[in-house]
């Protein structure tokens, strides 16, 4: 009846390096439904981040199609592409690098509102305060510089900026990997709350199967630019079929805790 939110088919990106052509992304196809989380896992160099950049049109593919919200996303250009970007957002791994070093919180959150004409200049401070509250931060933070706030707060700001334009899909590129574990849980919970309340779909890129099993519905495991296996996240992590899937599961550190009373 309805087409998926995002349908990627035969996406390919090649790089030339030292006279050789290497396919960083080699004919990849996948789809994401509304309010769903698809995880992309795989070792470094498997093409995870390249896929993120291709989806966001930060780099252009050599072949393939991207259909987003029922339209051909790759045919958009200029103003039409910029307008469409409101619906497809991204959160980067390093929250410090993802912001202009001179920016304040208010400017970072005000930019998308201004660029997409969502809020007038007069209305903006109120909308910024609402966004800050939405991601669990105090509205007083608006006047602070980005470099003055903590890493966890910065990643909340990055999420607030991504949801400012009411997107239907947010690409999270290792978005919790640089965070302390105690902060990581809160950010994951925030992402889940936003997904439930605003029906946002996530493409969750991570090398950490533990985090993926906590947040993702489905998983695709990449190896050398191809999807080695994909399916229900729980099922794949419990019983991986591909060699790379097995290696990833085996390599993940396991914390075996016996319950309190049977330890001496």
């Amino acid at each position: 009846m309805s087409s998926p939110l995002l349908a990627v088919s035969e996406l390919t990106k090649r790089y030339r390096r030292g006279g050789q052509t290497i396919a960083a992304v080699d004919g990849i196809s996948f789809h994401i439904e509304p309010a769903e989380t698809l995880a992309l896992a795989g070792p470094s160099g498997s093409g995870k981040s390249t896929i993120a950049r291709l989806l966001l049109r930060l780099i252009e593919p050599d072949a393939g199609h991207i259909e987003f919200e029922g339209g051909d996303f790759l045919s958009l250009n200029g103003a039409a592409l910029r307008a469409r970007r409101a619906r497809l957002q991204m959160v980067f791994q390093d929250p410090l690098a993802a912001f202009n070093p001179r920016a304040t919180v208010a400017r970072v959150l005000g930019d998308p509102l201004r660029v997409h004409g969502i809020a007038s200049r007069r209305e903006r401070p109120r909308r910024i305060a609402a966004l800050l509250e939405r991601v669990g931060l105090s509205a007083d933070l608006a006047t602070r510089a980005i470099h003055e706030i903590s890493g966890g707060q910065r990643q909340r700001i990055a999420i607030a900026r991504a949801i400012a334009t009411k997107p239907s899909l947010v690409v999270l590129d290792e978005a919790v990997s640089a965070l302390d574990v105690s902060v990581r849980g809160q950010i994951l919970q925030l992402l889940l709350d936003l997904q439930r309340e605003e029906r946002i779909a996530y493409l969750f890129i991570s090398h950490d199967l533990g985090v993926i099993s906590a947040i993702a519905h489905r998983i695709a495991i990449l190896d050398a630019g191809r999807i080695a296996e994909s399916g229900d996240a729980r099922a794949v992590i419990d019983a991986p079929q591909s060699a790379i899937g097995k290696a990833l599961v085996a390599a993940t550190p396991k914390l075996t805790r016996t319950s309190m009373h049977d330890a001496s």
Binding site: R82, A97, A98, P112, H116
Partner: protein, 276 residues
């Protein structure tokens, strides 16, 4: 520690700042201390310095007050130096940012134009420009800027090339910001520090170029300039060398002051960078 205190902690920076403050004071107070036309005759011709308290630095061939000329000349030197450097930095930063950010054909064209300007000696360029358009303050400023913008353009481009690969530029694209806004609001401000580090060199060079143009008679004829004063004194160099030496010393001190203060600023910001 605040940047001002750190700046004042370096002796050369303090020396440079003192010279520049004195110079600005001279330029600003010139119309108050020496009202009227500094080129008017004020006393007997060729009066040596330190003879008359009212004419402490003596008079020139026509009996004009050297002190008044020196003060008014500071106005011209500073105005031309700062305006030309500002123009060169603005042109250079804009050209460099566009070239580095746009890449491709735009980059290629802009950088070949930069090459073309850089291959012609900048003084020759200024000389030719003023000879064709005719000497006036604005033309002199433009002529000097014409030869000085290429350095800032190259530095800005190199900086922009590395900044445009950073995540915050990607995230500006992701939120749908217009490329020109990204270039000038996100990228350019972050590319400026190394470009501004060139400013002391450019200001000093601009002041010297202005003096040289005036020396050759291509300065604004309605204004007193140090270069013009040196040229004036040349005819009587044997009998009244002070006429060339006094503005010469002023020129040397000014350039020295600009360099020292500029060096101090660079040092201060460098320390702050290494701390953060």
């Amino acid at each position: 520690m605040n940047p001002l205190r750190r700046f004042l902690g370096t002796p050369e920076a303090v020396a440079g700042a003192i010279i520049l403050i004195a110079l600005f004071a001279m330029a600003l107070t010139a119309p108050l201390i020496f009202p009227g036309d500094p080129q008017a005759i004020a006393g007997p011709a060729l009066l040596p310095p330190f003879q008359d308290w009212l004419l402490p630095l003596g008079t020139d061939r026509l009996g004009r007050d050297v002190t008044a000329e020196l003060f008014h000349g500071a106005r011209t030197s500073l105005a031309v130096g700062l305006a030309a450097a500002a123009a060169a930095l603005v042109i250079g930063a804009v050209v460099g940012t566009l070239a580095g950010f746009a890449g491709g054909l735009v980059d290629e064209v802009l950088m070949r134009v930069t090459d073309a300007f850089q291959t012609v000696p900048s003084f020759l360029l200024a000389l030719a420009f003023v000879s064709i358009v005719g000497p006036s303050l604005g033309v002199v400023v433009a002529a000097i800027a014409l030869g000085a913008w290429t350095g800032p353009a190259r530095v800005a481009r190199a900086e922009v090339l590395s900044i445009r690969e950073r995540d915050f530029v990607a995230s500006a694209r992701v939120i749908g910001m217009h490329p020109l806004e990204i270039a000038f609001r996100e990228v350019l401000p972050n590319a400026l520090p190394p470009v501004l580090a060139l400013s002391s060199v450019i200001v000093a060079a601009a002041i010297l170029t202005e003096a040289a143009l005036s020396f050759l008679g291509l300065g604004d004829p309605n204004r007193v300039t140090w270069g013009g004063m040196i040229a004036e004194g040349r005819a009587v160099l044997r009998t009244a060398p002070f006429l060339s030496i006094v503005p010469g010393i002023a020129l040397v001190l000014t350039v020295l002051g600009v360099y020292l203060a500029g060096e101090g600023v660079v040092e201060t910001t460098a320390v702050r960078r290494s701390l953060s």
